[in-house]
């Protein structure tokens, strides 16, 4: 922590003298010493550092990312994120990336869109990169602002409402290109190379490959792998290695392997048993799933008596599935959560977020999923979480 000189206004007398003159009587402890103001730095993230994106609907101009110690259930600070920002955290947890919009006069003047890099220990701005003023002002789903797996490029979802992807070079800290992705939405980065896929309105995937300069060198359209009319999928991905899992509105799980030459699709399987279906159980929420990768456990935010339009409803239960065996392994009570996150550390934790209360319930990812703690007041309309 840096030391800061205090300058109380109109307070210029030698207080230390007064303090020196003071002495403790026989029955009195020493007076408390004079103190200095310092500024907190955080310790490096430990795998349970939680980043909570709050778009503050009632005052969207003043969004923020709350930083929380998930294990200690302690509030650590915030990064200002401006208006309807897209947010994410670097794979190594050292940087918070955001794409946001500013106007010189808060709500008027010339629109400026920028990518910002904030240090996750000092929570200070490290870099600002100009990008075209067309980035999506949208919910900061995991697939809206995505770094390449090697940390070289940052992909930014655009919408004017025509859709495209802005490419930012994180090494040179420059905007380097834009790729048109008409009719497609979300950015699903590949583990290998500079390549991403995007989900298209006709049920296909469009895969874009970039060269080392961040320019598109190929664009390939896949076969149709889902039916957007009959079984729309959420664009929030869960990732295990090269595999991506997407859950659908009606409770089917789609697995896509982003490896080799082109995406490989596995036929979807249902999360629901007959009885679940009768009771109308469905996935719902914003960040509707979480994955504990080591155990291959998928958590899904579920509500019953689902109906057309309930796909963002909060959950009554969080269901855990073993991805390998395709079996449900637990039903966990929910705090009317809309978003889930899981840590991948030695003693992993499951986080469930109720945005109305800004409440995060923290459970062990272990038999019985015992509750560890509950935090409240984490923002006003917090909807997205990331853990590093």
């Amino acid at each position: 922590m840096e030391k800061i000189k205090k300058r109380p206004w109109l307070l210029a007398l030698p207080l230390s003298v007064a303090a020196t003159l003071a002495f403790a009587g026989p029955d009195k402890p020493e007076p408390l010493p004079e103190e200095e103001i310092k500024v907190e730095h955080l310790t490096p993230p430990d795998g349970n550092r939680l980043y909570v994106t709050d778009f503050v609907f009632n005052h969207m101009a003043d969004g923020r990312v709350h930083v929380v110690d998930g294990r200690a259930a302690r509030y650590l600070g915030m990064v200002m994120s401006g208006f309807g920002a897209l947010t994410t955290v670097s794979p190594d947890g050292k940087a918070i990336y955001l794409a946001t919009t500013y106007y010189p006069r808060l709500y008027r003047g010339q629109r400026s869109d920028v990518v910002e890099i904030h240090d996750s220990e000092t929570l200070e701005l490290k870099a600002e990169i100009d990008i075209p003023a067309k980035r999506a002002q949208a919910v900061a789903y995991r697939s809206m602002l995505v770094p390449s797996s090697d940390g070289r490029f940052l992909y930014v979802q655009n919408a004017t409402p025509a859709t495209s992807v802005t490419i930012v070079d994180l090494h040179s800290r420059k905007f380097v290109g834009e790729v048109q992705t008409p009719g497609c939405w979300s950015i699903q980065a590949w583990e290998k190379g500079h390549r991403f896929s995007t989900i298209c309105g006709d049920g296909t995937m469009l895969t874009v490959t970039l060269d080392d300069a961040g320019q598109a060198v190929s664009r390939e359209r896949s076969a149709r792998f889902f039916d957007p009319d009959k079984d729309p999928i959420y664009v929030h991905p869960e990732m295990i290695g090269e595999d991506r899992y997407f859950v659908s509105y009606y409770g089917n799980l789609y697995k896509v392997s982003l490896s080799g030459d082109k995406p490989a699709f596995t036929a979807p399987w249902t999360l629901l048993e007959a009885k679940d279906r009768t009771q109308g159980w469905r996935p719902g929420g914003m960040q509707v799933t979480a994955m504990h990768r080591a155990s291959g456990t998928l958590f899904v935010n579920m509500h019953e008596q689902g109906y057309e339009g309930s796909h963002k409803n909060p959950s009554k239960e969080i269901w855990a599935f073993d991805v390998a065996s395709r079996k449900r392994v637990a039903r966990i009570p929910s705090n009317a959560a809309v978003s889930l996150a899981a840590s991948q550390s030695d003693a992993p934790l499951l986080y469930s977020l109720n945005p109305e209360k800004g409440e995060i319930v923290i459970r062990q990812i272990a038999k019985g999923y015992p509750k560890v703690s509950t935090m409240s007041g984490i923002g006003e309309t917090s909807v997205i979480m990331e853990v590093r």
Partner: protein, 182 residues
């Protein structure tokens, strides 16, 4: 790189053409069948339509459960609105509050008018250029779909194409009868 540029341009043009065609009869049919969802909605709550409007400070807070009025979330033409009702912000169902600007782009919903039994196409335009109104938040996601169906997506700000993209509130404007209605 000429080839690649050409390829990009070709792909782009082709897709745009598709989009334009789709935006005519075919797409609209799709839209109107799908019904539609709201503004920059972020519909985080299991919504009780009436309560949320009142909680947000609608001035009709004392009203009983009678006919819904234009400041109630369950007024018929708000069937797919998601955001702050302009009716509570100094506008009406069809007018933006003073000093704000209608959105350059919008999405449509299909709503049933119980008074005449007809289904109407309703254009949900955001009013832009002032910061969030914060009054009468209404929320539904009926036939809302992710952004790969952008015309029915509501996790995005529909003031996006305005000079000032700040979102203030949403109006609900009748643009015609649903296809097949008379």
């Amino acid at each position: 790189m000429d080839f690649l540029k050409l390829l990009d341009r070709f792909t782009e043009r082709r897709t745009r053409t598709v989009a334009q065609n789709a935006s005519r009869r075919g797409f609209l049919t799709g839209v109107s069948k799908l019904l539609v969802a709201g503004a920059f909605a972020l519909p985080v709550l299991p919504f009780d339509r009436t309560n949320s409007a009142h909680a947000a400070g609608g001035h009709g807070a004392a009203k009983k459960k009678a006919e819904p009025t234009e400041t109630d979330c369950d007024y018929w033409r708000y069937c797919s609105v998601d955001g702050f009702l302009c009716s509570c912000c100094g506008g009406t169902m069809t007018t933006c509050p003073p000093g704000s600007t209608p959105s350059a782009v919008s999405w449509v919903g299909t709503c049933h008018n119980p008074a005449d039994g007809r289904d109407y196409l309703v254009s949900y335009n955001d009013c832009c250029g002032k910061t969030a109104c914060g009054r009468c938040f209404c929320n539904t996601n009926i036939r809302e779909r992710p952004g790969y169906r952008m015309g029915v997506h509501n996790d995005i700000n529909w003031c996006m194409a305005n000079q000032s993209s700040h979102y203030h509130c949403t109006v609900s404007v009748i643009v015609g009868l649903e296809e097949g209605q008379s």
